[in-house]
Symmetry: C2
Subunit: 167 residues, 2 copies
Amino acid sequence: MAARGGIDRFPLIDALDQAGVHVTEPRRAVARLVAEQVGYFTANDLVRAAGRRRLPVGRATVFRALDLFTALNLVERLDLPDGGHAYVACDAAHHHHVVCSACGRSVDASDSGIAEVVAGIAERTGFTIASHRLELFGLCPECARREPAGTPAATIPTATMSATRPS
Amino acid sequence: MAARGGIDRFPLIDALDQAGVHVTEPRRAVARLVAEQVGYFTANDLVRAAGRRRLPVGRATVFRALDLFTALNLVERLDLPDGGHAYVACDAAHHHHVVCSACGRSVDASDSGIAEVVAGIAERTGFTIASHRLELFGLCPECARREPAGTPAATIPTATMSATRPS
DNA sequence: CACGGGCTGAGATCGAGTCTCAACAGTCCC
DNA sequence: GGGACTGTTGAGACTCGATCTCAGCCCGTG
């Protein structure tokens, strides 16, 4: 529930504009829904949310918009351990996410230092590394405080984050 | 199926044994199939392979066996860049995978250096990182030689990883 | 030998994501 | 101002990977 009720200008929408993509009403609606999500969300979450609020967006359009956002690096795709997929809104710059497996919140983490690790692995294996993905999961400060280590109360399945980027 | 003279013994099967799990014929069959795979494979690859060779394994059993193997860390689950899922057989020790996107071969890579990166991220974000996973995609030395950088892997022979999947 | 628990297979079912296609909207050109 | 064009949309059918159900079977145990 981020900035709501304001003019329809979100970073997301600005970015669409800048990317030379048509900013249509359905896309705006999806962008708004994305901006309101806390933590990660699935495509179906958006479809349901849109339906609940009678927004003018069809299911296919939600998927298309998410594809578009993903292509523009405005949202990042998560791979849940259960095989499903989810998304998180984020900056366009390449980075990784640390996902709280209790509340689902996701925080950006720069990948400082990983480049060297990747380079090292490339050298050792002889592979030409085209992209990498780093997945981190654990507990955010709040949840860690609420559930001292060891409490298996986490209801949300451990989400694994993946930011695949061409290197 | 090759070695028919004697009891089939694979590291996989030994591990099942040690884990106190029943080593049944279907599980043995799945283990054998897994051991025969080159590179990564999907659950469906195994199902098809089993069917092709008339092995006594049902679809559900393949999935169950893979779950079991995954739980025992005998097999690692990969999230392919295209959102699909695959598996690779591997050691139980923690490590990472470098996957060739042309031939599908997967090589283990020690995670030297990543621990520091993860620690740094944990410190910066305040998260308690429970686990991490790093996956690297690129070209193995052979494929890189065959397809010099820049050449789009138009004719991917075996496993396709980013484009279409054989139907 | 009888019993009980775990494992199995076949098929039904679920559900995420894709594809098709006609209709529509916004933009550009004349 | 009008017409044409291109890109977008929505509804729903469809695909296909994955899971669930459930009765039957097998193995180890007492």
